[in-house]
């Protein structure tokens, strides 16, 4: 029997192809959802942090991770596990992820909230700071709805999820 050594770099490369099912311009790596990849012989285990507990995309992501990792012929088994801890926070989104969100018309979340709990974001299209919050809640659990008074575009933003909340 011949054994081919699987490296975690190879697995991470494949995970770049697993996009958020509802935001095609960012991968689960960009979103900071992948906590750990473990390789034991020809078995790969991927540990993922759910962004929101009720997110209906989670089972789809699980399936897509399995499919992506299996593309490597030396992989025999894939297990995907959603971890309870640590909690996913919006500051896990990478710089590449933030750029990907903007391409999709979604403003990346602010790093922190102001002391009074308010937060500040700019329009993803024209960078204007002259925006209004229409609804903290949006079309998916992780997004809010805003409106840019400068370029007159409605847009969305990722909700900040920060530990002290």
């Amino acid at each position: 029997m011949s054994t081919v050594l699987i490296t975690s770099e190879e697995i991470y490369k494949l995970l770049e192809n697993v996009k958020d099912p509802e935001i095609s311009t960012v991968s689960i790596l960009d979103l900071g959802m992948v906590e750990n990849v473990e390789i034991l012989g020809s078995d790969v285990s991927v540990k993922i942090l759910p962004t929101f507990l009720g997110c209906p995309a989670l089972p789809i992501i699980q399936k897509n991770v399995e499919t992506a990792v299996k593309q490597l012929s030396s992989v025999e088994g894939v297990s995907v596990e959603f971890l309870r801890s640590p909690s996913w926070t919006s500051d896990r989104i990478t710089e590449k992820g933030k750029a990907g969100l903007k391409v999709f018309g979604i403003s990346p979340p602010p790093r922190q909230l102001k002391e009074d709990g308010s937060w500040h974001i700019d329009c993803p299209y024209c960078e204007s700071t002259y925006v209004t919050m229409e609804n903290i809640f949006g079309p998916t659990a992780c997004r809010s709805i805003l409106y840019c008074k400068s370029c007159k575009n409605p847009f969305e933003a990722m909700k900040p999820m920060i530990k002290f909340m």
């Binding site: 759910p50 929101f52 507990l53 009720g54 997110c55 209906p56 309870r84 801890s85 909690s87 996913w88 926070t89 709990g117 229409e134 609804n135 903290i136 809640f137 949006g138 079309p139 998916t140 659990a141 709805i145 909700k159 999820m161 920060i162 530990k163 909340m165």
Partner: protein, 267 residues
């Protein structure tokens, strides 16, 4: 006498059923507002909060599944009313009529129940951060971040309607507060196993949780001109011990209809 680990086991399961069943029926009542909320942005907000809340119920059922209580889906769908541990106030209908035929739901009752419950849940979740059951403490950390937005939302509605000076809004809100408080003690009840739940360090006592809730809600009520102590009761009994109303029976009938049509189906 049962050994300590089996006492702990009973206590954990009891508490998990209470947390899961509360969020499950609360989320179901929230889902009945779909398409009926006062305006479109509120429809989105209510739906999003309801979806988050169902996620919380699911993770509590998941913890029960890990303890060998059965499949999470089955725990949510396939238990009769008398086995449910949710507080009675959470199961009561949104108002007269039904979703399919002339729903005449009461938004004031929704706002009051949602605000009071979300605040109570936030206090429990805070307490669960130091729960002796580590998985529950981990889940609490995650739930808390999502709850932040829910609480902000319902508090805004609560204060705006009561502080609006609008006669109908204020009188309907007051009536809803009275109705909600009559049974709101049930949310803090830890049921017949309450003593061991607290002794095992899973969560603080009913009295402590209720006091904390009072300390947060009283100033909000005072800010809209409602003074005086908040008196809560359990007029229709304690849901933690399996006592429920016809409202829950009917809700279960509706929400389990698809599941019951083929229990073996995979979705």
């Amino acid at each position: 006498m049962a050994n300590n680990s089996s006492v702990m086991n009973t206590a954990i399961k009891e508490l998990l059923f209470q947390l899961a069943d509360d969020d499950f029926i609360h989320s179901y009542r929230g889902s009945e507002w779909l398409g009926l909320a006062p305006h479109i942005e509120e429809d989105i907000a209510t739906s999003s909060i309801t979806q988050d809340t169902m996620g919380h119920a699911a993770i509590f059922y998941q913890l029960l599944e890990e303890l060998g209580e059965g499949n999470a889906n089955q725990l949510a769908h396939d238990r009769p009313a008398y086995e449910r541990r949710n507080a009675i106030i959470l199961e009561l209908v949104n108002g007269p009529g039904s979703y399919m035929e002339q729903p005449d739901y009461d938004w004031a009752f929704a706002v009051v129940r949602n605000y009071f419950y979300t605040q109570a849940k936030a206090i429990k979740i805070q307490s669960l951060h130091s729960s002796s059951y580590e998985p529950l403490a981990e889940v609490a950390a995650k739930v808390q971040m999502e709850l932040y937005y829910h609480l902000m939302h319902w508090k805004t509605w609560f204060v705006q309607l009561l502080g609006s000076g609008h006669e109908e809004a204020v009188s309907r809100m007051k009536a809803a507060i009275e109705k909600t408080l009559q049974d709101f003690q049930g949310v803090f009840s830890l049921g017949e196993h309450g003593n061991i739940i607290v002794q095992q360090g899973l969560i603080e006592s009913e009295a402590v949780l209720l006091t904390k809730w009072n300390q947060v809600v009283s100033p909000i009520l005072e800010s809209v001109g409602l003074e005086g102590p908040i008196k809560v009761g359990m007029a229709q009994g304690d849901g933690r011990n399996g006592k429920h109303t016809e409202d829950l029976e009917k809700a279960l009938e509706t929400l389990c209809e698809v599941y019951a049509s083929n229990k073996a189906a995979s979705w």
